[in-house]
């Protein structure tokens, strides 16, 4: 009788021991890929990123960018996502966007025209200092 009870007790322990097993299921799904680069085109590679669904402060996905600076994740079923990526030296991004869902194609990324921005910024600076120069001249003119 004792042996039977012991056997029953041991059998009762079996399901929890099965619960430690991790199952896997391979599936083809549509992931979102966001490529992160520095201003000079160098990839923001192997850095940590976090993805949050709209209105949630619990990460939907966490990971590291790949060698090409891509953060790849499966988006939540609806709504905007917030992507945060960090390097230990303080570089990174914190951006919100509406990711393409299964069957949708992403809008082509707007081309970054750095040289025209650079010229525009320098033009703004020089225009501002030009105004200051006019002000200084007027002040000194009797």
């Amino acid at each position: 009788m004792k042996r039977r009870l012991l056997l029953c007790w041991l059998l009762a322990l079996l399901p929890p021991s099965y619960a430690h097993e991790v199952h896997h299921a391979v599936a083809a799904q549509n992931a979102v890929s966001v490529r992160l680069t520095f201003a000079d085109g160098q990839p923001f590679a192997f850095e940590a990123f976090e993805v949050y669904a709209a209105g949630s402060d619990k990460p939907h996905a966490v990971g590291r960018t790949d060698a090409d600076g891509r953060a790849v994740f499966l988006p939540p079923s609806s709504g905007e996502v917030r992507l945060r990526a960090f390097a230990a030296d303080g570089h990174g991004v914190d951006l919100k966007f509406d990711p393409p869902r299964a069957g949708e194609t992403a809008a082509p990324a707007a081309s970054e025209d750095s040289s025209s921005k650079l010229v525009f910024g320098a033009g703004l600076l020089l225009a501002l200092f030009g105004l200051i120069q006019l002000f200084v001249k007027r002040k000194k003119t009797p």
Binding site: F38, A39, D40, Q42, A48, D57, R84, F86, A87, A88, D89, G90, H91, G92, V93, D94, S114, K117, L118, F120, G121, A122, L124, L125, L126, L128, F129, G130, I132, Q133, V136, K137, K139, K140
Partner: protein
């Protein structure tokens, strides 16, 4: 070194804006007396140079890349006040046009790079120029990069301590001081060396034309 939006907590950037506001008001005092017809075009050219330098990435040993600041040459040629104002303008433009540094982080970036960087450059130069002027300019430029680097690393590294969830998860920047200090400072030792060479060249050019204020 430009801290982006979303990395600093309001507990950091709101007091920083208050401090920067006071510092901008202090720097703007006496601006009318300081600026004249000769100073404005030089300041415009040097500010434009600093703006461009901040966007040119150069490789650093170790696989990273960085850029010069140009704040030391502004400080040595025009003094701390004008350098701080001009560099704040540079940071605002870089942030708005290129996303290099955030608007919420502008005050911290301006205080670290514009104010502390230029003050460190002028103080180092004044302290060392009797020994050797070129070495003083080089040391001033190196310090104008490394000190802001230290301040930025401190501002980032304290974020997990001052802004976190109840379970300790950081709400803003996730890395502590033990990570940010070496990660920011070590590359900036090299960037500072490049800045020193560049500033000595500009200093010699400016000195030959008697432009220097420091």
């Amino acid at each position: 070194m430009h801290i982006p939006d979303g990395f600093l907590s309001p507990q950091t950037y709101l007091p920083a804006y208050a401090a920067a506001g006071l510092a901008w008001a202090w720097a703007a005092r006496g601006l009318r007396r300081t600026l004249d017809e000769e100073t404005v075009p030089r300041l415009a050219a040097m500010t434009a140079l600093a703006y461009g330098l901040g966007l040119v990435m150069v490789p650093i040993p170790g696989g990273s890349s960085g850029h010069a600041l140009g704040v030391a040459m502004l400080a040595l040629l025009f003094g701390v006040r004008l350098a701080f104002l001009a560099y704040s303008l540079v940071l605002a433009l870089q942030s708005l046009l290129f996303g290099a540094g955030g608007i919420t982080a502008l005050a911290v970036n301006a205080l670290a790079m514009g104010l502390a960087g230029s003050a460190a450059a002028v103080l180092a130069f004044r302290g060392l120029r009797r020994l050797n002027e070129t070495a003083a300019v080089a040391a001033a430029a190196w310090l104008s990069v490394v000190l802001p680097g230290l301040l930025v690393a401190l501002a980032l590294g304290v974020q997990p301590l001052i802004a976190h969830k109840e379970d300790g998860t950081p709400l803003f920047f996730p890395f502590g001081l033990s990570i940010t200090l070496p990660a920011v400072l070590v590359p900036h030792f090299f960037i500072g060396a490049g800045e020193a060479v560049l500033t000595v060249l500009v200093w010699r050019f400016a000195k030959a034309r008697k432009w220097c204020a420091a």
